[in-house]
């Protein structure tokens, strides 16, 4: 079966971003960019499904600027067979991205679509669920275990207070949580091979998708800073402060 994996180019998770002085956004100039960590887990899961003989082809797709080709090449080096970039220089909302992915799903007809549960830049946690709505597929969000059997997939989900397992008819949408797997690193020979794998570039116009949005970001500000407190010298002093100064115990 064919598996479609969606990946996003985001600020590397180790970077502490700064808000721009004009409050128009965060400063991304000369900042290290990487594949969103949850998307790495999505790619890894697809590769494992292929290694198990469940998946026959892995198509990786990204919606973003030209430079997102770097993240697609990384996914190809990790084991994806071919890549699609839907090129857009604009900052798109989750709904616009979901609509573009829907167009790619219509074109590719995958049995399984795997996405990260959230991108660590916008922290929206929306795209997978929206794609599920637009395609009418079942959704297994925040997955910690995925098992394909016949025309169904059993997904164990991380939920508040524990885990829930649901069974979905294929085709289905899965979004990954942290414990689903531990992504591998790409080997040098595979990085070299990835350069030769096919990478198709499309545009929202070519897919016939409007990326208009009902959300508008008016400004982006730094959060109120929390000032550092004091260092106490002993546990006894700590307990005294908590009881008499902070009055929280």
């Amino acid at each position: 079966m064919k598996v479609l994996v969606a990946v996003k180019r985001v600020v590397d998770y180790n970077v502490k971003v700064r808000v721009k002085a004009d409050n128009s956004g965060v400063d991304l100039a000369n900042v290290k960019m990487s594949m969103n960590p949850f998307c790495e887990i999505a790619v890894e899961e697809a590769v494992r499904l292929k290694e198990k003989g469940v998946a026959t082809e892995i198509v990786v797709v990204s919606i973003g600027p030209t430079t997102a080709q770097e993240q697609l090449r990384t996914a190809l080096a990790l084991g994806a067979d071919r890549a699609i970039l839907v090129e857009s220089a604009e900052d798109l909302t989750s709904l616009a991205v979901a609509k573009l992915l829907k167009a790619v799903v219509d074109k590719e007809q995958p049995q399984l679509v795997i996405l990260g549960k959230q991108a660590i830049d916008s922290d929206n946690n929306q795209t997978g669920q929206m794609l599920a709505a637009l395609t009418g597929f079942g959704q297994g969000t925040f997955a910690s275990k995925v098992e394909v059997a016949g025309d169904k997939v059993a997904v164990t989900r991380e939920v508040d207070g524990g885990a829930q397992t649901v069974s979905l008819s294929l085709p289905a949408i899965i979004t990954t949580d942290l414990r689903l797997n531990e992504p591998r690193y790409a080997s040098l020979p595979n990085i070299m091979k990835a350069k030769k794998k096919p990478l198709e570039v499309l545009t929202p116009d070519a897919l016939g998708v409007s990326t208009a949005s009902t959300n508008k970001t008016l400004k982006v500000e730094a959060p109120a800073a929390r000032s550092a407190g004091i260092k106490v010298k002993s546990v006894a002093e700590l307990v005294e402060k908590l009881k008499n100064e902070a009055k929280v115990i």
């Binding site: 922290d123 709505a133 970001t217 700590l238 929280v248």
Partner: protein
């Protein structure tokens, strides 16, 4: 304006996060209706009708909604919600699972995890793990929003007397089914609702050592959390994770034990009223946000703390 709030519940009891979500609705202003979807949910509907400020409770009681399967609940919410000015749900695992599906069905963008209401169409929300706060305006005819509970003080659970109305609509997409669940059983308070949270990080060294924190937590009536590092290392299950991609907590007192303070962890706890950090590395970033820092070996400090509180 009339606002539809999706009740958060486990089929038996109304979850406290619903009260924070109603509080956000009250800030927006207008009539507030609450939808309770599930199976055998009479008690939840009764509790919802008592929430202060709620005008009407809609009850969709059907087997199709039993386990909050989004394939079935989202079409219900989209159908009912189309006539409202706003649809709000708590940013819990259910709310996050269902609401974006509703938004896409209504062809509107969602605003996730708002922490304040500026006006009926403008809200603030953290982005980049809380390192920036975005002010977002929605032009959608129906504004679809998830609410971060820590941003809003809960409304009173009692005092209201809303009319209860049954909803006949049944949506059963037939694409998904519930198989089972494993919920952690604990006598301790729920992490996101606890007044005191004790959390452990990589410094705990292994899962067994978390017993130190459980003992301390039981004495304080606290919940126990963990950093992603502790979850990744397999010390404790993921539902204990506090941080950007885990749970967001804002208790009266947060005690971080053996946690260095990565930005992803701080994103989940920095709105706590009082933060205590116990770490043997005095350079640990956690001390930059802690009200009280103790540079000490946690294996000595935690047992001593447990004796003194």
């Amino acid at each position: 304006m009339t606002i539809l709030v999706i009740a958060e519940h486990d089929g038996k009891a109304l979850a406290p996060a619903t009260l924070n979500t109603v509080a956000a609705a009250a800030k927006i202003g207008g009539d507030i209706h609450v939808l309770v979807a599930g199976q055998g949910i009479g008690a939840v509907a009764e509790a919802a009708a008592k929430i202060a400020g709620v005008a009407k409770v809609l009850v969709a009681d059907n087997a199709a909604y039993a386990h909050q399967l989004p394939e079935n609940v989202a079409p219900l919410v989209a159908e009912l919600g189309a006539g409202y000015s706003h649809i709000l749900a708590a940013a819990t695992s259910n709310g996050k699972n269902i609401l974006p599906r509703v938004a896409a069905q209504l062809d509107v963008d969602q605003i996730s995890e708002i922490v304040s209401v500026i006006s009926a169409d403008t809200f603030t929300r953290p982005i980049y793990a809380g390192n920036a706060i975005a002010t977002v305006q929605s032009t959608a005819p129906v504004k679809v929003i998830t609410v971060r509970a820590t941003g809003f003080d809960p409304v009173a659970a009692e005092g209201g007397s809303a009319a209860v109305e049954a909803v006949a609509a049944v949506h059963d997409a037939g694409t998904s089914s519930f198989v089972g669940e494993e919920l952690a059983k604990s006598d301790r308070p729920e992490l996101t609702a606890a007044k005191i949270v004790v959390s452990g990080g990589r410094g705990m060294q292994n899962g067994d050592n978390f017993k130190l924190l459980y003992t301390l937590a039981d004495k304080l009536g606290a919940a126990v959390g963990a950093s992603r590092a502790a979850v990744d290392a397999g010390f404790v299950p993921n539902d204990m994770q506090v941080g950007q991609t885990g749970k967001i907590v804002a208790p009266q007192l947060y005690i971080a034990v053996g946690i260095s303070g990565a930005i992803q962890h701080l994103a989940g706890m920095k709105d706590s009223k009082v933060i205590v950090a116990i770490n043997k590395d005095e350079e640990a970033p956690i001390f930059q946000v802690a009200d009280y820092g103790l540079v000490a070996d946690l294996f000595e400090a935690v047992p001593e703390l447990e004796k003194l509180v």
